[in-house]
């Protein structure tokens, strides 16, 4: 579903992504982990072209993402993206946050968009918050609205860029449980996260990144029991302490 082949990215002299090649299969849940500054977020942001790449190719569902001829808006509507900082639109209610893109980018009628948004809010457990504004919601609730907003475009792929890192600890669970239910429903997911419990429980594959390169790809059992790369071992032992 998502293929990286020899992807490299530079910020001036600094190489942020080094020759990354990997694949996320259809219906797979991949967790990308690694120390901060390892290029995880940069990598996930290249998938829907929030970041440009200088070498290599990324394809999503057959379309080459960084090709100039790509219909970027249509492509992006097929790839859901959830941000660390939620990025809800503060001037719109939860319902309107979800309705906006289906109406303005997909041309849905207000009635259809609203009906769908209410169903999505129900799915993330926030049916009663339809008319609340982002500022009236807790971090966990905001992130769940953000997930519902991304789902409203009915994307076959969802990308999560540290979705729980900005949350108070007691709110992490509610967001993870929404993500778990998505995974159970067969959504193709790529998640940058530090939630190793989530990785262990839900993911099909764990990618360990450091200094812009993927150093290890393994199924979660293998990765957490016996990581091969010394830096992965060091990373996991740091996490346990």
């Amino acid at each position: 579903m998502i293929q990286f082949s020899k992807v490299s990215k530079w910020y001036g002299e600094y190489q942020a992504l080094v020759d990354v090649s990997a694949e996320v299969g259809r219906g797979e849940v991949v967790v990308v982990c690694g120390p901060s500054g390892s290029g995880k977020s940069t990598l996930i942001r290249t998938v829907n072209r929030l970041e440009a790449i200088q070498a290599g190719e990324i394809t999503v569902d057959g379309s080459s993402v960084h090709q100039a001829t790509l219909n970027l808006n249509r492509f992006r509507s097929r790839v859901g993206f959830v941000f660390q900082q939620f990025n809800l639109f503060p001037h719109l209610s939860a319902l309107d946050n979800i309705c906006l893109a289906p109406m303005k980018a997909a041309g849905k009628s207000r009635r259809d968009a609203k009906q769908q948004a209410l169903a999505l809010l129900d799915r993330v457990g926030l049916a009663s918050k339809a008319n609340s504004y982002p500022q009236q919601l807790s971090g966990g609730q905001q992130q769940r609205v953000a997930i519902a907003r991304a789902l409203a475009m009915e994307p076959p792929v969802m990308l999560f860029d540290e979705p729980t890192s900005a949350l108070d600890p007691e709110m992490v669970g509610e967001v993870l449980s929404v993500m778990k239910s998505l995974a159970r429903d067969g959504m193709t997911m790529m998640c940058v996260t530090h939630e190793m419990g989530f990785a262990r429980e839900v993911s099909d594959s764990v990618w360990f990144m450091d200094r812009g390169a993927i150093l290890e790809v393994a199924d979660p059992q293998t990765f957490f029991r016996s990581p091969e790369h010394p830096r992965a071992q060091a990373f996991l032992s740091d996490l346990r302490h």
Binding site: A105, Q135, M153
Partner: protein
């Protein structure tokens, strides 16, 4: 002084209307309103050009804004008054000249406020809109502008108020607005410049003070709404309990 005002009140407020052309304060307000009616939409366009990724749009708009900001208003008026007829080959009325100049002048200043409003929004706002598949235009219209304009409303409104004062520049090209009327009264009285121009100042003050109070009302409404959490992005330091404690 009061007798000077009462005797000339009609002329000062309405000019020769209804027996002649409208002037005085009425014309001042007409000029300001007309100017703003065109300047506000133009300023949105200018601000869009300024933040545009396309250099063909951003460079000319930036040049225009810098020129307008770097030149006194009276110079701009002279330019359009003397230069425009040369360029287009026929005369333009002083009234039109003044309106056009005010539009350009105010649009440049307003566009800077709007641009600041746009640029102060967190990057995540446009990123999330674009990542949902919304176009650049749609993102600007439905995500960026509503927030930027709302956040900047007090600044935009006070810039609008200053338009009322800026119309006084019409005096130099004999547009019969408030200042011109006062000057005419002064010329006919000959010996009372202090009183006449004090009256003039008071009239401007009364108008601008009233409008400023209205803006403060709007400002308070905005910070009240922010305090109740309906909308906040740029946190205002007004009504900040920590700051004021």
């Amino acid at each position: 002084m009061l007798d000077i005002f009462t005797y000339n009140a009609h002329f000062l407020l309405l000019g020769q209307y209804p027996n002649g052309p409208i002037g005085g304060l009425a014309l001042t307000l007409i000029l300001a309103l007309l100017g703003l009616a065109f300047a506000v939409p133009l300023s949105l366009l200018l601000a869009l050009c300024r933040v545009s990724p396309y250099r063909v749009l951003s460079v000319p708009s930036t040049v225009l804004v810098y020129i307008v900001r770097g030149v006194p208003l009276v110079m701009l008026v002279f330019w359009s008054y003397f230069l425009v007829p040369e360029l287009i080959g026929h005369l333009v009325s002083a009234f039109t000249t003044l309106v056009v100049t005010l539009v350009i002048y105010q649009a440049a200043y307003l566009s800077e406020i709007v641009r600041a409003g746009i640029e102060s929004l967190p990057k995540g706002q446009t990123e999330s809109a674009r990542s949902l598949g919304m176009s650049y235009g749609s993102t600007m219209r439905h995500v960026v502008f509503p927030q930027a304009l709302y956040n900047m409303l007090p600044s935009i409104l006070s810039q609008c108020i200053s338009t009322v004062k800026d119309t006084s520049i019409g005096y130099v090209i004999s547009v019969q607005e408030l200042t011109f009327s006062a000057q005419q009264i002064n010329a006919s009285l000959l010996t009372k410049p202090f009183q006449v121009f004090l009256i003039l100042a008071l009239v401007y003050f009364a108008v601008c003070y009233t409008l400023t109070r209205c803006v403060q009302g709007v400002e308070q409404r905005i910070s009240r709404r922010r305090a109740t959490g309906k909308m906040s992005n740029v946190r205002s330091i007004i009504n900040d309990s920590v700051l004021q404690s």
